[in-house]
Amino acid sequence: MGNALKIFRKEIKEVLINRSIWLPILAISLMFSILFPAAITILIEDMVKDPDATGFIAKIFQTTENIETAMLDFIIRQFMVFLLLIPAMLPSLIAPASIVLEKENNTLEPLLATPVSTGQLLLGKTLTSMVPSFIISLTDFILITIVVDTIAWIKFNIIPLPTWEWFVVTFILSPAISFIITMLSLIISSKSTDIRSAQGIGAVIIFPIYAVIGMQIAGLFLLDVKFIIIACAVLIGICPVLLKIAVKTFDRENILTRWKFK
């Protein structure tokens, strides 16, 4: 673990210096954490006047009472899924990029020539991906809570957040997703035969998250207690397995000998 922390400490410094990776995501997430929730929460008053909208909500929640509360509940669940997007996006950019950068700067070979094991290397790089995304997720969580609660209290006299699902999503589900996305990115990128495909892995890996967002917006399913518990159990169970697979399949030789820069 010591070596993994050494790698993490060095790398997090470099990630923080390399603003081009995390600053756009931070900017987008702040916008979504403040402007979007504020606008939507304010607009609920108008949305409940639309019979199509209220019918849609009534169908999902199987109720016609307290339609503003139900509408707010539905909106909050959309934000909750959004909280899953950041911990998926950022690691899928950072993880393969860190390996690519090491190769580009010719530091990978001397690093692999030290006694650092593959597991320690991957763990160190995973922490480097997970910690910034967790911090951004947590920031989003706090901002959305403040914005929605403030407006909901003023408008409807309710304080909807945080719910226990929000805590579980922020502190358990999001980190688990971060870990899994990082591991998958590292596995697939190390097997890539060139730099560009290694870097492009991130765009593909997070498709399942987009699918979840799309399905919820379409009303096909709702991120509820049952789903969250099952997701936590499955994803946490996958994490150690994925780490083992990542260690076994991390292809040092492919990266050292086949990755070429044009």
Partner: protein, 305 residues
């Protein structure tokens, strides 16, 4: 210290290293030479457990490279062909980071970093970001990185490339000193044949396969006819007739009126006989001296053929 047995490395259909075997004893400097693409870097990568051989066996310090790669990596230092550093952090932080992965205590690590940075005249720039360093300074820093943890085996791929003459000289002296003082085994890849001939105990020339592996002395001795320079005071006009009597000596070139370059088989035996004959014929000899075939000549001849 290092045993390579029938080492082969193939990349798809291309054989980079073909059935290479050698043994390097502790404390030796092993000069590993070959043209570009000969398999030198691939061999270093296999020996340092960065990549696995397609077939063959590697034993380093008694350990099989496929079974104990982490142990082997803990006792080696490597200077790669194009060494990189983390450019945004300082020279000191770079050395501290890499040396932190080895089993040396913090006090010793700190003292070694200072020792090697001072030796390579980098101590004054220890807190500067590496991106501000020249190519030569980065090369020296990379060499320091390979040495910080006092490895048992040092893999050096072009250690004096990009260095100015003074730095190259100090690095070469350093390599000789570590061999004598600390009994570190050095695996030296270099295109600088003079450097290889001055430093190496054993010279190995490779072009996918091993072409030759021997001491420099044996390589020079084994070349068949050798060159002998002869400078006379008088009697130059008699030389052709005298040399004709010797089956194993011929005149390669008359460089000036009294200076001759001869081709002599086994000079140890032939030179005294020649000197005696010259004296008998009243030829006054200033000196008769073998010109050792340079490693460059040996190398070029072997690679060409």
């Amino acid at each position: 210290m290092i045993i390579a047995e029938n080492l082969t490395k193939k990349f798809n259909n291309f054989t980079a290293v073909d059935n290479v075997s050698f043994e390097i004893r502790q404390g030796q400097i092993f000069g590993f030479l070959g043209p570009n693409g000969a398999g030198k870097t691939t061999t270093i990568r296999m020996l340092s457990t960065l990549i696995k051989p397609t077939s063959g066996k590697i034993i380093v310090d008694g350990q099989d490279s496929t079974k104990s790669p982490e142990y082997i990596r803990s006792i080696i230092g490597i200077l790669t062909e194009t060494p990189g550093m983390y450019e945004k952090i300082s020279a000191y932080e770079n050395l501290n980071y890499f040396s932190g992965f080895y089993n040396i205590d913090a006090v010793k690590r700190k003292s070694n970093i200072e020792k090697f940075m001072k030796f390579f005249e980098l101590w004054d720039r220890k807190d500067d970001a590496v991106k501000t360093f020249s190519k030569g300074m980065k090369q020296k820093l990379a060499l320091a990185r390979a040495l910080i943890h006092e490895p048992k085996i040092l893999f050096l791929d072009e250690p004096t490339a990009a260095l100015d003459p003074e730095s190259a000289y100090s690095v070469r002296s350093f390599i000789e000193n570590i061999k004598n003082d600390i009994k570190t085994t050095v695996f030296l890849c270099t295109h600088n044949l003079e450097e290889a001939s001055n430093l190496s105990d054993i010279v190995c020339i490779i072009k996918s396969r091993i072409i030759t592996i021997s001491t420099l002395e044996k390589l020079q001795a084994g070349k068949g006819s050798r060159k002998v320079e002869m400078v006379l005071k008088s009697g130059a006009e008699k030389i052709k007739k005298i040399i004709d009597d010797f089956e194993n000596i011929s005149v390669l070139k008359q460089e000036s009126e009294n200076k001759f370059l001869l081709s002599v088989e086994n000079p140890e035996k032939s030179n005294p006989s020649l000197l005696k004959k010259l004296t008998e014929n009243s030829v006054e000899v200033i000196y008769l001296n073998e010109i050792k075939t340079s490693l460059e000549e040996i190398y070029l001849d072997l690679i060409k053929n």
